[in-house]
Symmetry: C2
Subunit: 227 residues, 2 copies
């Protein structure tokens, strides 16, 4: 029974790893679509989102079956419950990457972004892509300190998000109405992807330690998991 | 053991009901803050969000304890797993209502919205408030048909969301830069609240029937749970 149990836990962990890698591929593709005006990359992200949705459904099925058949307790139970929640978060991260790709596709052959937005969106793209790489790594290593570092870094993304508003509000803003709408939404999508990555980091800390850092009253860790 | 089990299941269901009612209070308060420029309502929503966050944590704790001690199967297991996910969705709905309230508070004593946006935001507010009332009702009655109706109605909200972009893109648009940013974000927050309500309806269908309507290939039900 224990062998079967471990095999099933491993299968769930493997599927979650696959989801994380797919989400990173989507985020990188969305960046290519947006920043390099790459219509093929946009289409790949849009098409690939179905696979992420299917993986989420499969991970949730596996978790429910595991709970029904094996009745895990303690760390194993925390792992299954965290996995359920992380899979849903990955699914949302995939949706957000798709939204960015769809925005790029709609504007094509023009760019969805104005030159004034390029630097900050490049930074946000880099942040989200790197945060997702960290998540892939932390899922394997269960490195709690690395997860906590990611949680702390979230403030950097918030600053980038604020900067997008400053650019739009500046006298020098040269975007038309649609570009203004797109800039606000793209900034929001990037900010949400990063927040979700931080949410996953929190859940990995919970999975490893049983301690939920989102409930920590110290200032460094209280920035909420937004939306 | 069964008595204890039923009592614990009831406690979890009651707490989820309380969360739903609190979320509806937040959404209604956010509407008052935004549409009637009511700063006290805004502050109540912002303060009240902590209670919703605490309730989510408590529901999740109860579900994990239930899984550990009682090892539910079949319908009971589906109920616990769905409850975990619905609690997280309610928490996000509360966050989104808070974002609307924060936007109203930042603009105060001015209104965050231009007169041209009033009608569509009134409609979106009404949609989200009513959808949340339906959810409160469906959680109690487990009325699958009512849940499916809510899923179908989601298209109406999408149309309202599209209308907000049309207003901003029209020649007659009179908002300044900050009002444009706020209009785009408020529209997004309203659309997300409604989408989350629909996501909850889907999960209630799953809880009742074991069938997940988000995986239904018929057109009526495929509009994805977004972000």
């Amino acid at each position: 029974m224990r062998v079967l149990f471990n095999e099933e836990m491993q299968q769930i962990a493997d599927d979650l790893d696959t989801m994380a890698v797919d989400v990173k591929t989507s985020i990188d593709g969305a960046g290519k679509a947006l920043l390099e005006n790459d219509i093929d990359a946009a289409q790949s992200v849009i098409d690939g989102d179905l696979k992420i949705d299917a993986l989420e459904a499969s991970v949730i099925d596996e978790c429910v079956k595991m709970l029904a058949k094996q009745s895990p307790v303690a760390t194993d139970l925390r792992t299954v419950v965290s996995t359920l929640r992380i899979a849903s978060t990955f699914e949302r991260m995939g949706d957000l990457a798709r939204h960015i790709a769809e925005t790029a596709r709609r504007a094509y052959p023009n760019s969805a972004i104005t030159p004034s937005m390029r630097d900050v969106f490049t930074d946000m793209q880099k942040f989200d892509s790197e945060a997702t790489s960290e998540i892939i790594d932390i899922l394997k290593t269960r490195d709690e300190q690395k997860a906590e570092q990611l949680i702390v870094n979230d403030a950097r993304l918030d600053n980038m998000h604020t900067k997008t508003f400053d650019i739009i509000n500046a006298d020098s803003w040269d975007g038309d109405r649609q570009q203004t709408i797109d800039a606000v939404l793209i900034a929001r999508f990037y900010e949400r992807i990063g927040d979700h990555a931080v949410g996953v980091a929190r859940r990995i800390v919970y999975m490893v330690s049983g301690f939920d850092p989102s409930k920590d009253p110290t200032p460094v860790l209280t920035s909420g998991i937004d939306e």
